[in-house]
Amino acid sequence: MSDKVSPLRRPAPDGGSALTAEVAGLIVEALNLDVAPADIDPEQPLYGEGLGLDSIDVLEIALVVSKRYGVQLRADSEENVRIFGSLRKLVDYITAHRTK
């Protein structure tokens, strides 16, 4: 189930803010964050200094994303940093790789 995604598919442009808002809501819910989903800046880093998430949070988000969108995140560390570079990048990744 992890290999359904062709590496040749390119991220589709984010069709609108609906998915961004939905993913922001999932993150806030999964991590019990004390911020409103709409207050997460889509361009802000999720890791470290930005939203302040750490690797355990990233694992939590990965699980929620795999359940909701059928995307099994796979990453050498560089891609991991890229996907979680911002909410926008995460949403782009989901858009390109979602199976449901």
Partner: protein, 421 residues
């Protein structure tokens, strides 16, 4: 042979200092770095985290320390030696004979006063411990070991790097993170294959509904696994699950198969004894008698039950600290007048089962971002408080003590600005 050649090559590049911070992320690079240190009688430093504050303290502890790194832009503020593979498969020499008494490493715990406490690890005792581990795990020679834990953590150091070196097993250089990565890393190695992991990663594996290739054994440590989850893992992946118990100070000292018996069986020669409320471990490979920071009930010769952590201790995903240490760091921040960490009552609906710590702080001239930035400089990010509450004063009792209950009540009633790390 390739390994010995790389060890010999790297050993020549480590300089004249006695101490090396081995920060290599690739497990094979780490093992070559360890081998190079062994060959030149250098001591590997294994702190629990690489925050700027800890690196400053390491420099004070060992002014000659250099950092061995395989990262292109390593942020650690020490003289650096970049990992490089041996240029050509040079002729390897004989396997070096290491004196069992040779000091191999200092592993650090956080201590309660802000200064990391070093624990010495000598070659003979480390090897004795992981030889027993290999027997306990029932590993046939030549197992392939895949681990989700870093080689710098005591559990990963013993159960991936040392167990392979001392017993003739093979180790996978990877450190898979996501469930799908773990499955892929296991697929890439031949059977018999063993997964060395933690409750956090194993919970994630189950929650993700991932399929694993046939795996001969799964091992968990860093925190006890709920019996139900252990049973689910054994059933889902059709493999035995063993748990290991230990600490940074003692290394691994006991194992159990939670689906068969709740009791832990100690390594031979290791003894636990009660001293009042405290439990101490000694004998066997243990360097010196050590207080265990868990509530242990001795149930018979070499057997015990684990009843949880001592209240002051904080263990988040295998990273250990104490409320005392975290409080010390919080109160060392300029502008913080008073502050205290506490265990949250609220159980998060977390898929990885990780519970965080919270903190209250009195700091009228600071905001959350500044307090968190200062903390991030001092403590591992897993200990950043969630939430961090700003209050006018802490609920100290008549003797100046801060009951955890009072902190939790304050947090529950707090309606002012709160923030999340």
């Amino acid at each position: 042979m390739q390994f010995l050649a790389e060890v010999a090559c790297l050993a020549g590049r480590l300089g004249d200092g006695r101490h090396v911070l081995n920060a290599c992320a690739d497990r094979y690079h780490f093992a070559v770095g360890l081998g190079a240190c062994l060959a030149r009688a250098k001591v590997t430093l294994l702190p629990s985290t690489h925050t700027p504050e800890v690196v400053r303290q390491l420099r004070a502890f060992a002014p000659d320390v250099v950092c061995l790194t395989d990262e292109a832009a390593c942020p650690i503020a020490l003289p650096q030696v970049g990992y490089a593979a041996a240029p050509t498969p040079a002729a390897a020499g004989a396997v070096p004979q290491i004196d069992p008494a040779q000091l191999v490493a200092y592993v650090f715990t956080s201590g309660s006063t802000g200064t990391p406490v070093p624990h010495r690890k000598s070659w003979g005792r480390l090897c004795a411990c992981v030889r027993e581990e290999s027997v306990r795990l029932g590993l046939a020679p030549g197992c392939a070991i895949v681990a989700t834990v870093p080689p710098q953590h005591m559990y990963g150091f013993e159960s991936s790097v040392l167990i392979a070196l001392a017993n003739g097993h093979a180790l996978s250089a990877e450190r898979p993170f996501y469930p799908a990565d773990i499955a892929a890393a296991l697929t890439r190695v031949p059977r018999p294959r063993v997964l060395i992991s933690t409750p956090v990663h194993l919970r994630a594996l189950v929650a993700a509904g991932i399929q694993l290739p046939h795996t001969d054994l799964i091992v968990s440590s860093t925190a006890p696994l709920a019996q139900q989850l252990a049973a689910e893992i054994e059933q889902r992946f059709a493999t035995p699950l063993l748990e290991i118990y230990g600490s940074t100070e003692t290394g691994e000292i006991a194992a159990r198969r939670p689906t068969q018996a709740p009791e832990w069986q100690l390594w031979p020669g290791v003894t636990l004894s009660q001293r009042g409320e405290e439990t101490w471990a000694h004998g066997g490979h243990i360097e010196e008698p050590t207080r265990m920071w868990d509530v242990l009930e001795l149930t018979g010769a070499g057997r015990f039950l684990l009843h949880g952590r001592i209240a002051d201790l904080v263990n988040i995903a295998g990273k250990r600290s104490s409320l005392g240490y975290l409080n010390h760091q919080l109160n060392s921040i300029p502008g913080v007048l008073d502050g205290a960490f506490f265990h949250c009552d609220e159980v998060r609906t977390s898929q990885t089962g990780v519970a965080r710590v919270a903190a209250c702080v009195v700091a009228p001239d600071l905001d959350a971002a500044r307090v968190l930035a200062a903390l991030r400089d001092r403590v591992d990010p897993v200990f950043l408080p969630r939430p961090l509450l700003f209050v006018a004063r802490l609920p100290r009792n008549a003797t100046g003590k801060l009951p955890q209950e009072a902190l939790r009540a304050l947090a529950a009633s707090h309606s002012g600005p709160a923030t999340v790390a």
